[in-house]
Amino acid sequence: MKLLHRIFPHPHLTILLTLVWILLANAPSLNSLVFGLLLGIIIPFVTQPYWPDRPILRNWPMVVEYMLVVLWDIVMANIAVARIILFKRDADRQPNWVCIPLELRTPEAITVLAGTITMTPGTVSCDLSAQGHNLLVHCLDAPNPDQVRDQIKSRYERRLKEIFE
């Protein structure tokens, strides 16, 4: 078991890299599967010293739910931001900084949350506080910053907490 752990430090990464290689080759064949597996074994093994901890995903159905929620929000937020850019006068827009107190502590979870906030249009995550307990977010148009904070906490952070912690 310990030997297996030494050879496959990140089993998830191995599977992901193999999948990415097969998709890159764009023709599922035994050739690309074997080469993808080779890369999937060698790359995690070589990069192991830089990545000592294994992030643990506790709740797989929640991962799927999270991805669907984020995709839906991206579409909805795109439409909302397009309306702001096209139809709202620049003087009426209220750009705002929002501070989001984080309950998440794992670095991977905070990274995913910050990335999600940036990819949903209308909000960009800009900075972490010095010890990583708060996230600074810039909103394109937020008359009510508290509402943005509560929405991010209830929609994304709650789900990420169930996935990672």
Binding site: L23, V81, I85, W97, S129, A130, L136
Partner: protein, 128 residues
Amino acid sequence: MTFLFELLIAFFLIVSGIFGFVGSFGMIKLKDPMSRLHAPTKATTLGVGGVLLASICHSVLLEGKLSLHELLITLFLFLTAPITALFIAKWHIHRHEQPQDLPDAGEDEIWATHAVEQVEDVPDHSAN
């Protein structure tokens, strides 16, 4: 049936074109640098997403072969775009924002970008 497929592909292309345009237009219309940062995040999500969906649909429905490496473009964009945005935002905070202008950082008292010593002898570009 082919006509319906082409209609679907055209729909995705038009959607991506519209959002790509709005994203670029936002770069001109929005005046402050932080708001301008919002425009490109739009273009990379629905703008690029629409083209990729159209590409997948075209190869599956019209050419009759499965092509999924478009999904990888989405994956790589979702990995790289937030990092670029974060770097630009951190640069802006470092050069143009004072700690008192930002909201309170809670128990940590200061945001990470301000927790380093400010460099004094760099040329000032804030005038333009």
